[in-house]
Amino acid sequence: MTSDGGPAAVRCRGLTHRFSRTLAVDALDLDVRVGEAFGLLGPNGAGKTTTIRALITLLPLQAGEVSLFGHDVRRRRMLVRRLIGYVPQQLSADSSLTGRENVALFARLFDVPRAQRRGRVEEVLALMGLAEAAGRLAATYSGGMVRRLELAQALVNRPALLVLDEPTLGLDPVARSTVWEQVAQLREQFGTTVLMTTHYLDEADRMCDRIGLMHRGRLRAVGAPAALKAELSPAATLEDVFRHHTGDRLGDSTDGDRGGFRDVRSARRTGRRLG
């Protein structure tokens, strides 16, 4: 429950997930308030992506309870999916379709009524600044445009929760700031709750109302970036907070790693596609 008595956007208690003998997420308790931007930070293999994948129904819930806006993820899977807009880490727009076709596909998969479909597709394309490029194949888009196209795909359902897994990975600084401007505009205009992971601490500092620092499958610290920094020392940066809670030894980043090799390979593949 939130302070106003309404359900939290995300509430999870005791979430635990194992990949064979590796404990990826360890009895995680997490609350994301309605309307806030919450960032999950942590080294590779900390369990961020596994947590997100469990929250959005991509992974079966092995142990623990998860609800989105009060709806039990285990029991109301289809209903919960209807509330989510998801942008994965990889560049996931279909390069063999046009921008418009990419968005229209998700409008159909989310059962946007036929009478509203065309208007809704054009609306989100315009919102993401892609109206003019909508008729071109996505293969001709720049990395930043692809990310904005993916946001358009995620938004066509008017989701209550936007889940972004490393949304600016591999993008140049201009494209990164454009993506964040679009996300900020969405929050301001529609009050969309945003749950994101990122490795860019400066972005988390600027964009998130609260952050959760994960390490070895557990949340080590949760709070507003300013509060977490102040807790450590008056001159502390978010990087100092990160190092304090997660350790900075090289070996740490592969502990309990589901994603060590796979994550890096995926990140490099995304980087290659972005040029």
Binding site: P7, T57, P60, R81, S92, S96
Partner: protein, 271 residues
């Protein structure tokens, strides 16, 4: 956008079962396949090279040789339904590679987070492979007509033949998805696909009657769904004797089994 993001679906929305979503998802994913084909017709042309070679070189040569008993039907005519089924098989058996590519690109994860039950997603993808096979089939049949093959002029029989083609391709696409769900890697699936594609093709009635196959391996032709697909296509397109009810029953049952098994394994691809 004109309204704030809702925390619950619109009033009137029914949290229905997968079966109710099945038709709309199948149509959506088939349309998607047609859109991709429209943007990349070169792929269709390159895929046509192999069936064209089978018909033009193998077919015309063996027609002259008269080495294969075909019950009075010219060999090229006899071969055409076999090549039609083969072109669909070759396309569908590597469909899992495409899905592994979608997994690597994050597309599959995005599809699985839509309100689409896995059985609907797999059925949609399987029939999308069927649609691609049907488009390819149109070109194969056109080429056969140019080569002088006599096909039925009954449009209903032609339509039914395309239905059989789609059903067979859907099954083999599911087989490929099952293998993808088991091996999880593109290179492994390519190897397995290459290993099974020729046994599936040669241990069938696509090129010759099953009776000509050595006895110790003939059983393989009888359990091979490709044989039933070719038998149905021959009956529908050439009017040769066939057991259409049995053929359709076998193809229908294996397609349902394939969809069920592939749906159960689909989650493994995203873990």
């Amino acid at each position: 956008m004109t309204s704030a993001a809702p925390a619950a679906p619109a009033a009137g929305w029914v949290e229905s079962t997968g079966w109710l979503r099945l038709p709309s998802r199948v149509v959506t994913l088939c349309l998607l396949e047609l859109q991709k084909l429209r943007h990349d017709p070169i792929e269709l042309l390159t895929r046509m090279i192999q069936p064209a070679l089978w018909l033009v070189i193998f077919g015309t040569t063996f027609t002259r040789l008269r080495a294969i008993p075909t019950g009075g039907v010219p060999y090229l005519d006899y071969l055409t339904p076999g090549i039609l089924a083969q072109s669909a098989l070759f396309l569908a058996i590597f469909f899992g590679v495409q899905v592994i590519g979608e997994r690597d690109a994050g597309v599959l994860a995005k599809l699985l987070v839509t309100p689409t039950p896995r059985v609907a997603l797999v059925t949609g993808k399987a029939f999308a492979a069927g649609v691609r096979a049907a488009v390819q089939g149109v070109v194969v049949l056109a080429l056969a007509l140019v080569l002088g093959v006599t096909l039925t002029s009954n449009p209903l029989r032609v339509l039914a033949a395309f239905g059989v083609l789609v059903l067979g391709a859907a099954f083999f696409a599911c087989l490929s998805l099952v293998l993808a769900g088991l091996v999880l890697r593109r290179d492994r699936l390519m190897g397995i696909g290459q290993a099974i594609i020729m046994p599936l093709f040669f241990a069938s009635n696509a090129l010759y009657p099953v009776d000509l196959i050595p006895g110790w391996i003939r059983w393989l032709a009888y359990v091979n769904p490709l044989s039933y697909q070719v038998d149905a296509l021959r009956g529908l397109l050439l009017g040769t004797p066939s057991n259409l009810p049995l053929d359709l029953a076998v193809l229908g049952v294996v397609a349902v089994l394939g969809i069920g098994t592939a749906s159960a394994l689909l989650g493994r691809l995203t873990r």
